[in-house]
Subunit: 155 residues, 8 copies
């Protein structure tokens, strides 16, 4: 990623549909260059340009993070099942007190109660869940912040 | 949100830069209608179209979720400080064992060690942190899944 | 709920059997109005007027709160079973470290030991309980405090 | 408490304003006897008859139980402060992982976030809180269930 | 228990074999009175006079307290089994994070490892144990301290 | 410790005041031998013969085990202070989740609440306590069980 | 172990292949004496001289400590299985919150995820694991520090 | 690292002082080649050949792992202080419930009690420690197992 890529990415982080002509003008290159760079960044999987819905606007009023503990056995199947639920917006395997941490988007307390009780806790292999109700969202960045610097590992 | 909005949103979730003419054709309406709907959805804050960077491509090899406990005092300032760190990609206030849960994007173990030790743990008001290293990411959905159905609360 | 309802409710919170004539006089309306309002509040489920027993007077000397963890399976049946025990005075489904929190009213340590060991821990689906013995009760309000103000959500 | 007291109490648990004439008829005694018994039970503090408000009807949509840990120092003052908050409907001193368990009645997630962050966590002496969001209420009995039997302690 | 009983008990707490003639002299009563009081205290189960072995002298170098969690099922049998082990010197049923707390007297680390692994953890019904190695013993009183005062409950 | 010592100790564990003549007869040795052995076991600190009071008979109805966490600083003083409280019958320094485990003998819930709140939690250096209410006592052995066998360490 | 042994051991702790002639010179004894002492220390199992690989040089970038909880049953077999895994560099049986603590040497996050999910958590008897990712290694001494002093136990 | 390096390393892992002539013979190369390879592996820091003392032989009878929590402030100094203690044989910074995990080599329970109470817990910045007594050591490998294979990351 060079400075031009970085500039393009930063533009798209603010407005994903900004016309290439405008971006080209701001970066001082031709529209063709922008278009080529864009195509390459997309093909290399460096960025995605996507429509992201505001959960609040959809009536999501009971979002939560759930720590999940799995028992011995086929984890792949349990994880695949959980990942497919519509309510699940984020699913990572972690080291620590839990095996998985899951973000769920429920409409209200009742929906969350149902999801935990009748859906998540019924997945074979799930033996314990601990729910952290999200009271307020302060930051939801879109992936990582792009930069050209490399850290020097000190170890 | 009606069926047309829903269709538009679903298109943009797959490709945020899909030309309105193509979307119009697929939804069987005029380009003007799509453009108007898009403008309204953006203005109402229902969706954002944005470029999202793949952390892996940026050399992010030590992502983590961190549970943070705050002490009595000015939480607003502590939270604002944490939200501003480049490494922090997600910050929510939760009920449960922690006060905050934070997603951090670090390049390697050394970066994570430094961030925890020299940055996050030095924020006034932070008294305890518990880090869950992310070993694998299975799902990172973009906001909530749109739907036209409303749940009937059963309580 | 208007000011008149509020006044009526506040009177009944102090003495549930206060004659309507006295309440009418204090609120400056007719007895018929008070009676009508009362009937409507009862029918709408806004209030209940009930006799509440002082546990101490009944020789309840070992009250406790119990956090209950349930395993995968039929939660509805486990919850229904627990709710029916005479010792159980309060039962909520919660998010967090436990699945349920239950208040139990036992006469003495021996009764509590028996209830936990022979009753609660034998309910199919209950896999773990953690008991918090109540050492002293400082406040036991009757439902929520009525008010006419609405909060403005700041999120 | 004899059988007559028990009968009276059971009637009042269903309808706290049931006229004494009706109660007298059902229990087969005179109205004067019922009235005398009632007066004595009230004066002895065995029962209270009170109007209890349904939190749901008041727009309480974010009830929670909060475990509170106190630091060394003047507990009496901290407890008295907490007990006075309008949101607090229940406050007990417990043995176990927490020092206090508190039930709070908040209108929504935002209210709960504010109460925890700006009110409860600012009380001098409070060093840690752990919140259990109430997802569903299955039983809220009114004090203890009256009975004439005495348990035989087996210890 | 009157002052004479108290005096007798206090004498025996220092030397369980102190001759009754000496005790009688110190308390200013006849030997017969002391003997009668002693017999009654023993028969009523108020005191026991017993030989107590110093674990250190027996080569007990790995004493520990063990928190035990039991699963649903026949607790009486599990408890009876544990109580019979020679290593177990103390066994109580508790409220809190564990179901039982057990004091065990092992000769060395290897003995403790064996006892936990091959004995205690093999008892049917025992699902989890958490061991607190005793590093130093500061006080081991013999039952409760006798007193003639009664506390006034303040609740 | 030889077989004769062992026999003597076992007799005293059942009745600490058993006359030496009877013990001598049962063990088939002279009274002088028993007396000499007894004197030596006492002087070497192998056994103590003491009067032990039954807590239940003294109205102790709220016994508890308390896990105590100490902060950095002068532990010796904190430990000495705690060991001196009349309510404290047992005090050990442990490895694990707590620093100390303390057995306390309180008369009732109110006494225990007061002891924890006004006494133990006010000791300088004590920063956290976790109380396990004792619901039932199944075994309270007197020191360790004497034996002549030595374990062979397998490590 | 006398001063000569100590000197020899200290030399070998810095360079395990230091020629005996050099060591002899530094300690002021003959090479034969050094050789004899070395042979005896090896035969008695007091020291080992071994080649130790630097994990970092082998591309080990995801080392971790894992707390393992075992269920009731055959622990010997579970422990033997875990000890044989190539990734496992350290395995101890501990008292406390876990049953075993294991150090694992994985090449990257993905390797660690696989090892935990497909290897360690599939060992029969393993019911829970809690992983502590090692962020930085500050000290890795080789066994214990040799000394000629003996501590005086103060208990 | 090629096959020859690997062979050399494996020989040294069994006997660090094995003469180069024997190693050369077993690997089918000249002694000079072995010597060159050895020198390079040492200079590159791939291996160390060192004398490792058996703690048991030194009378280490109370080894333990200690989880340490640090407070906000200068971690570097706290870590450096801990790393210098003779008793500390291993010190890592971890993610999870603790900040550091430390292995300590104490001679007996009394030494461990003293070390925790008077040494480790007095280090400025250390606010909590949790000790896991090591009951038995099953594996103590020397660094990582060498291999020529590279894993294919599956993420």
């Amino acid at each position: 990623m060079d400075e031009l890529d970085l500039g393009l990415v930063q533009q798209l982080q603010h407005d994903g549909r900004k016309p290439f002509t405008e971006i080209a003008q701001e970066l001082g290159v031709s529209e063709g260059t922008v278009r080529n760079r864009y195509t390459r960044l997309i093909e290399d999987g460096v960025i995605q340009v996507i429509g992201m819905i505001n959960p609040h606007q959809l009536g999501i009023d009971a979002p939560a993070l759930v720590g999940v503990s799995l028992e011995t056995g086929d984890w792949d199947e349990a994880i695949a099942t959980i990942a497919k639920f519509d309510e699940v917006s984020y699913l990572v395997l972690v080291s620590g007190e839990f095996d998985l941490i899951v973000e769920v988007m429920c409409q209200d307390r009742d929906h969350l109660a149902d999801f935990l009780q009748r859906t998540l806790r019924q997945v074979p292999g799930v033996i314990r869940t601990q729910t952290f109700t999200i009271l307020r969202t302060y930051k939801m960045a879109l992936g990582a912040k792009p930069t050209l610097e490399k850290r020097d590992s000190k170890e």
